[in-house]
């Protein structure tokens, strides 16, 4: 196990909507090590983005602690917090909204470089900006530096957004659906770019996606966490999770995954759900949140007791059916 960079300890986050308390994230514990890739997958509204924002320090957890290099971020001294602040960066989902339309690409990249004194003179800043654009495969960089975001394509903007995150030399990047809004044809290129940063710069990634196929591709060397209605239901090395999914929800997700070969997809055994409706976050089911839909529902215990995430066969699973084991 590499030294952990980000550790979540029983982290929860509730939102108040009118008089309802909504548990967006409920008791999530997770540790991500140096150079590791962890993918969070789940349906929309399952709390994966909220988890990402809490890690990036944009939202405070309502309960539990988040640690950066073994220090709780809400108890950090000023200098340590600054280190965390720059150490964890975020790449947003929508490349059309994540770049300020009034600034040129150079302005966007130069601002953090100058503000944190990574570069001194103007020429120095420009040289570094050129270097960063080259790093994200935007060559020749001088073609792009003086353009405005609206003059670039979605894929190019996403690269600029990655380059902006790299200005402060982060050790951890939260990529929130970072490729879901760009054309399918350039997704793989962007993902390979991110993988390259992990290999060359030793960066860690939390990759948030609703697309299990993407998670499978990107986290092949790392782990995949499956979230359902605010809780982490299964966390396992990607290969194991794909080959031997243990939680019934993971099994359903995998069986619903279309394969490139239509013949294979058609012949896949489909798992019948007891209900097609995702319960509302305002009225969460008691016990295991998945029980109203679970095909392996075993009665009483599922309705009453919230299953803990426990170690089982090389993974962590939250299900009453799974017997804890090595």
């Amino acid at each position: 196990m590499p030294t952990p960079i980000i550790t979540l300890k029983h982290v929860s986050r509730t939102f108040r909507v009118k008089r309802h308390l909504i548990k967006a994230v409920d008791d999530v514990s997770l540790s991500i090590g140096e150079g590791e890739i962890v993918c969070l997958v789940g349906e929309s509204g399952c709390g994966k983005t909220t988890t990402g924002k809490m890690i990036a320090g944009l939202l405070a957890p309502s309960a539990g602690t988040i640690e950066f290099c073994d220090q709780a971020i809400n108890q950090m001294a000023r200098a340590a917090f600054r280190k965390y602040r720059l150490g964890v960066q975020m790449v947003h989902q929508d490349p059309y909204a994540s770049l300020n339309p009034t600034q040129t690409i150079y302005d966007i990249i130069a601002a953090p470089l100058r503000h944190h004194k990574f570069t001194r003179a103007g020429a120095d800043t420009r040289a570094r900006a050129r270097e960063l654009l080259t790093l994200v495969d935007m060559t020749p960089p001088d073609d792009f530096l003086d353009k405005f975001p609206h003059q670039l394509s979605g894929g190019q903007r996403q690269r600029v957004s990655i380059a902006r995150a790299l200005t402060v030399n982060p050790s951890f990047i939260v990529a929130d659906e970072a490729v879901s809004m760009v054309d399918v044809s350039i997704r793989i290129g962007l993902l390979n770019l991110l993988t390259r940063f992990r290999d060359q710069l030793g960066m860690s990634f939390l990759f948030i996606t609703h697309d299990l196929a993407l998670a499978k591709f990107f986290a092949w060397e790392g782990r995949i966490g499956v979230m359902y209605l605010g809780r982490l239901v299964e966390l396992a090395p990607a290969r194991d999770l794909i080959a031997r999914p243990q939680h019934p929800y993971t099994q359903v997700l995998l069986s619903a995954l279309p394969e490139a070969d239509p013949q294979v997809t058609r012949n896949k055994p489909r798992i019948e759900l007891r209900s097609m409706d995702v319960p509302s976050l305002m009225r969460l089911p008691t016990g295991c949140a998945f029980h109203p839909r679970c095909s392996k529902f075993i009665g009483n215990v599922c309705e009453r007791v919230v299953p803990e995430l426990t170690a089982a066969h090389g993974a962590h699973v939250a299900c009453h059916l799974i017997k804890p084991g090595p």
Partner: protein
């Protein structure tokens, strides 16, 4: 020196961008001409002090291009002399209104909580008060004769509408992804306000400034026309008011006396509106047709 040069370069760039939009550039030219006429014109053509009974209510002629008024004085000359006060009040009111509205509106959006609630309620109550009658009452009570006092009263009445719009804009802009990115990049609050949020509102603010100006012009001439502000000095509103009270509207030959100040007001308003159109393009890079 370098800052002066940088400023001139920026000004040049802005003018170039403005020149791309013909309507806006025309508006700018008309506005600048009006400003020059109002400030330098009186030095060249001094005010007439005597009435000329032989030339009352004359139509346009070479000697009096816009005709003469009830005292036989030249209308064009009066228009030239009457622009300064109008322009000053328009500019001062516009800037004051925008300053108050932007400051209070963005503070309200940023601070939230109790300040925001109080502010929103204040704005709502303020907007329900009929503006012009209140202005009329205030103007009579305070005996406004000073440009600044009138401008301040107008600004105090005009800010709530704009403040509410600014608040809404800031509320929406501060949730944007690029603001989140600026937070994680630790660029600091001043950077977020002045570099990330404000530039996205500049076109809006500039246009609101111009509309605050046009509003001020109407309100001011309206007050003068109704005789609620002392009829001292030269002013397009005074001209119009005198023309009306002396019965110029009943004489066909006096048409110039009525139309001259009306035309001047309309031309100033039109130039401002034209200019506003082009400002949008100057501040919003997405609207620039070719770069």
């Amino acid at each position: 020196m370098t800052t002066v040069r940088a400023f001139l370069i920026e000004l040049g760039k802005t003018l170039k961008l403005l020149a791309r939009n013909r309507v806006a550039f025309f508006g700018l030219i008309v506005l600048v001409t009006l400003i020059f006429l109002s400030y330098i014109g009186p030095l060249i053509w001094p005010a007439e002090t005597k009435s000329n009974l032989a030339a009352i209510y004359q139509g346009p002629s070479w000697q009096h291009p816009l005709g003469t008024d009830f005292q036989g004085q030249d209308n064009l000359r009066q228009v030239i002399h009457g622009g300064r006060v109008i322009l000053e009040i328009a500019f001062i009111t516009g800037i004051l209104t925008t300053l108050i509205a932007v400051t209070l509106g963005s503070l309200s959006a940023f601070l939230g909580g109790a300040f925001d609630s109080v502010m929103t309620e204040l704005i709502n109550v303020w907007l329900t008060i009929p503006q012009f009658p209140l202005l009329a009452i205030l103007a009579t009570m305070l005996k406004v004769s000073d440009v600044w006092l009138l401008a301040i009263i107008l600004a105090l009445l005009d800010w709530p509408g704009l403040a509410r719009q600014v608040r809404a804009q800031v509320l929406s802009l501060k949730q944007r992804d690029y603001v989140e990115a600026a937070i994680t990049l630790d660029l600091g609050t001043p950077h977020i306000i002045f570099r990330e949020i404000m530039p996205n509102m500049m076109s809006y603010i500039a246009i609101s400034l111009i509309f605050a100006m046009t509003g001020a012009i109407y309100q001011q001439t309206g007050l003068v026309f109704l005789g609620l502000v002392p009829l001292s000095g030269a002013n397009w509103g005074v001209m119009l008011s005198l023309a009306y009270n002396r019965g110029a509207i009943y004489t066909v030959d006096a048409l110039g006396n009525v139309l001259a100040p009306v035309g001047a007001i309309a031309l100033l308003q039109l130039s401002l509106v034209w200019l506003a159109r082009g400002l949008e393009e100057v501040f919003n890079p997405r609207l620039r047709t070719s770069v």
